[in-house]
Amino acid sequence: MSSTSIFLQIIFNGAMLGIQYSLIAVGFSLFFGVLDVINFAHGDIFMLGAFVSLTLINVTGLLNTSGATYVFLLILVIILSMIIVGGLGVFFERIVVKPVSKGPTLMSLVATLGLGIAIREAVRLFYPRGSETKRFPELLVKLFPGKEAIEFKGIILRYDNLLILAVGIIVVILLALYINKTKMGLTIRAVAQDAEAASMMGVNKNLIIDVTFFIGSALAALAGFMNGLYYNSIIFDMGAMAGIVGFSAAVIGGLGNIYGAIVGGFLFAMVESLSAALIPRGSEFMTVIAFAVVILFLVFRPSGILGERAYERV
């Protein structure tokens, strides 16, 4: 393997993880924007995405089909899991997150952490053999029998990973268009800047908060599905770390800024991927190194890469 292809492979692996982190981080930023709350249960919503999509794969009998039916069912599984988990996100927002968001910050911190633990333990207790690691099947291999991956300039690309990258890029573009070009997107931005002023324009704030939690949770669910596909295994507590990483990515990018969240997610993943490859025994320390970068950001640029500086807020 040439050094160029090693470098490309690192970038590609980083992009795989980066797209997942970004999709989680976007939720943190959206929620912080409209409710001024940091939802620490968001990582467990990501986990729910993985479990709901695995359940749907089994229920629909996806793996026993082929051809056009297979493609149709696969798309259905992805969209349905996003809708179900998006709905659950709205449900949790209404019963826990919004009621505590008006109280002191400490209260919402404890309440959302507690909600996360409750979701996690519910999956462990009520999902069949929920405390064990579950195998998440490979999906695109079915369409290209006999070949698991393609080679491109000396780097190995699994079909499933290409699916992750393609879907991720499409979703990020759609999200940017939605936020920037639609009336709902405009309203979400307005509520994030001044919720009371927005309600003085006739905006039903509660509706916008619901929409925001639906979108954020659906994106986290998609990330959960991708994570299952990437590692081919899922477990009930996978959301704990993912939540912290997603939150860190949102902070690096500038909490409240969704483009910042996307950049932050990719940056975090690239640091992980580079340190795993370039530092001896780096894969053991990659997360430590990535969090060290987070800490450096907190010290030297606390408002994040794309976050507004203090003078702009005045």
Partner: protein
Amino acid sequence: MAEMLRMEHVTTVYGINKMLIDVSIKVDKGKCVSLLGSNGAGKSTLIKAILGLVKVVEGKIYFEGKDIIHYSTHRVISLGISIAPEGKRIFPKLTVLENLRMGAYLVKEKKEIERRLEELVFPYFPRLKERLNQIAGTLSGGEQSMLNIGRALMGNPKLMIFDEPSFGLAPILIQETAEIIKKINREKGITVLLVEQNANMALEITHYGYFLQKGQIIAEGTPEELKKEEIIRKAYF
């Protein structure tokens, strides 16, 4: 004369303090009514009571005969009330055009939004037309207050509430703002409730006024009557 807004014996509470005590005001259709009072007199609380943002413990508020006391803010607005809120409550990171669009949030048809821009906003604020794509937070203070009023006009309201429009403006801009409020009332026939600390400016353009002190209405009348009131003369003239 048909009445537009009526508050009857309204009392509000914040913590253990009564912010408004037994306040009754009436705004007739087509009129320009002012609510005067110094800082902390309860003027902002009165607006918040209309908008459903503070708890009213006693009394009634009617808009066109409808009791709106349990309405949430967005429902009150949907009845045909617009507000140009105090301070610079524009959306600083949206463009001027996006801010104006938010003012017409309840309008679905694009053509109607265009019509309101052309007929309600640009004639009064030609400067905003030149700056449609500028980020609102980068406008000057005077331009921001124009945008604040323009945005409220986009709601094409029956009743328009101005909350301290003169606050923080240079004298010449205060005069300009007063003229615009007068035109909105006289030319467009929009009923106005003008909440102001600056009694000189407010009494110049209004038909009727109320004077609020420590949460209570202590005087009311036409501008001529109010100017004669001892208590207001002491405070203002």
